[in-house]
């Protein structure tokens, strides 16, 4: 931490015995632990970027090509959009979901239960809320970049470029932040790593099916449409489409608010869940 001598005080040691050290004044939330945890992530990422990038970029591209060309041959247009363009913007949301919720779940669980990495970090001047925030920000930052892959691929297949596309990483960042924290929270409540099967099948799969990713929400039954409005991924997909095809300021503000609210709520329960697990 630069300027570490600012606001320090010597710790209370009696009669000059032992070593004298200086204790920095620490705030309730600090960015130094975030930087330290990102240093850890970066060191790991340097080793695994190829495999991580392959999985994170190729999988959504397969979705895009399979649905875009598969269904695209039967459904030329949805509303005013080419089906391929519709799917490309939908798959951005799916990529944001997958590249955030799974690292949140599995990294969170493995580092807490098997590797005890978090125990080691919490023995340093790092609090649980800083740890959770740092991990979620890293996941969100990576996801924000990776989830743009389908858009880049779609550009090669005829999607018209627009300045609004530059907003997409911000949309996916907040989406991934919420879902990464959701994954972290689930990692703190499942009794074993096998229990993630319930979360994936029971929660993650319905989330990406009822979000207007591959087909419009209007085509769903009434109850499913209502459910979609509660689905953060739906708001992500709507925002991405509006960013790419043209903004609708009032509606988009609502979608963005929903994503921020979701991330804030997930942060609260993820911190609480991890604190319950990590602090006896």
């Amino acid at each position: 931490m630069s300027g570490a001598n600012r606001g320090v005080r010597e710790v209370a040691l009696p009669q000059g015995a032992g070593k004298t050290v200086q204790a920095p004044r620490l705030r309730r939330f600090e960015f130094a632990p975030v930087a330290g945890i990102w240093r850890h992530e970066l060191a790991l990422y340097k080793r695994y970027w190829k495999s991580q990038s392959f999985a994170s970029m190729v999988e959504p591209t397969f979705f895009l090509l399979a649905f875009g060309y598969g269904f695209g041959s039967m459904i030329a247009m949805i509303g005013d959009y080419r089906y391929l363009d519709f799917v490309a913007t939908g798959v951005v949301g799916v990529a944001a979901l997958f590249t955030s919720v799974f690292p949140g779940m599995f990294n969170g669980y493995i580092r807490r239960v098997f590797q005890h990495t978090y125990d080691a970090m919490l023995a340093t001047p790092v609090d649980v809320h800083e740890l959770v925030t740092a991990e979620a920000l890293w996941i969100a930052a990576k996801s924000a970049v990776y989830s743009c892959t389908p858009l880049v691929v779609a550009l090669f297949f005829g999607l018209d470029p627009s300045f609004g596309m530059l907003l997409v990483p911000f949309v996916t960042f907040f989406t991934a932040l919420g879902f990464g924290l959701f994954g972290t929270w689930t990692s703190s409540v499942v009794p074993s790593i096998n229990s993630f099967d319930y979360v994936i099948t029971g929660v993650v799969t319905p989330l990406f099916l009822i979000a207007g990713t591959f087909f419009p929400v209007d085509a769903l039954p009434g109850w499913a449409q209502k459910a979609a409005y509660l689905n953060p991924l739906y708001h992500c997909v709507e925002l991405v489409r509006d960013a790419v095809f043209g903004l609708d300021p009032l509606a988009d503000l609502g979608h963005f608010g929903a994503l921020v609210l979701f991330a804030a709520l997930m942060w609260v329960i993820a911190v609480r869940g991890m604190r319950n697990r990590l602090i006896d």
Binding site: V11, A12, G18, I37, D119, T124, V126
Partner: protein, 316 residues
């Protein structure tokens, strides 16, 4: 800064010691792991926390870093009240856990760099701090080796180096040599002894008697969540086991008889496999020696005798 120290000391007299625990209780459901623990560790001292498994040593260690929160009592670490000021306390103490939680995918150097960040080592001093920690652990030549490829002893040394990368005033060592072979253990003892000589306050939990005897200035014996005896190893031996111990070997019936006679005369005994040891042998009157029999073998009393007599547990 001086004023801050004085204010801390006024706020609570416990702030004067490097570590102070007063009336600390920690429960896990119906089980009380720490039961009214009072413990003070003066600065610059190496205190060995001895006790059998389940005595509450690791829970005590975790409470000092606020990774476990006490249900009752007061804790001060280096003048900071825990858990309220735990973050500041953790900034000036190092922790070496019982469990190896190094990141196996990273190199030795990367592990230390991450923790130098977390411990707020200033940017300009970080590289030197990591170099110094590697040198201290004799791992300079292995700094670019992945932890997964290090030997058990090297990993343990790296774990210690990680807890020292920010030159802390206090180090908590939780069973630092558990599960290691004698050669590696001796290597680590040298490292820990160097810390003590450098003025670092050390609180070391262990259930290896020899480790405590060699390294600790003072020992506190824990049993069922409390300190049941405390003093320098030699003082504890003198108080509870005396100068000499006489060991009697024989069939079970003979051992039971020796125990009965010794206890009848107010002497303490302990079973050690095929023998019974009678403590404070120098106080045995000649008449009682005749009654106990001529088969006794005399030896110097040890901390192990104290441990077994006070805790009623076997040692490793």
């Amino acid at each position: 800064m001086q004023r801050a120290r004085v204010e801390d000391a006024r706020r609570d007299p416990g702030a004067a010691a490097a570590i102070s625990l007063r009336g600390v209780v920690k429960r896990f459901g119906d089980f009380t792991a720490v039961d009214g623990l009072d413990l003070e560790v003066p600065a610059g001292v190496c205190l060995g926390l001895l006790g059998p498994n389940g005595a509450g040593k690791s829970t005590t260690m975790k409470m000092l870093t606020a990774q476990a929160i006490a249900d009752e009592g007061g804790i001060h670490v280096l003048g900071f009240q825990v858990p309220r000021e735990a973050k500041r306390a953790r900034a000036v103490m190092g922790v070496v856990p019982q469990q190896d939680n190094l990141d196996e995918e990273l190199t030795a150097r990367e592990n230390l760099e991450v923790f130098a960040h977390l411990y707020r080592v200033p940017r300009r001093a970080r590289r030197q701090a990591v170099d110094d920690a590697l040198a201290l652990a004799h791992l300079t030549g292995k700094q670019l080796t992945k932890v997964d490829d290090l030997s058990g002893g090297m990993r343990r040394r790296l774990l210690i180096a990680r807890g020292l990368v920010h030159s802390p005033a206090l180090v908590l060592l939780d069973e630092p040599t558990v599960g290691l072979d004698p050669q590696v253990r001796a290597e680590l003892w040298g490292l820990i002894d160097g810390l003590r000589a450098g003025g670092t306050t050390v609180l070391m939990s262990t259930h290896y008697i020899e480790e405590a005897e060699r390294l600790a200035d003072e020992c506190a014996l824990m049993s069922h969540g409390r300190v049941i005896a405390r003093g320098s190893p030699s003082a504890l031996v003198a108080e509870y086991a005396g100068d000499r111990v006489v060991e009697h070997y024989g069939p079970p019936g003979r051992l039971t008889e020796v125990e009965r006679i010794a206890r009848g005369a107010g002497l303490s005994t302990r079973r050690t496999g095929p023998s019974v040891s009678v403590l404070k042998a120098e106080t045995i009157p000649p008449s009682l020696e005749d009654e106990l029999g001529p088969d006794g073998v005399r030896r110097a009393a040890s901390l192990e005798d104290v441990f077994v007599v006070l805790t009623g547990e076997r040692v490793e």
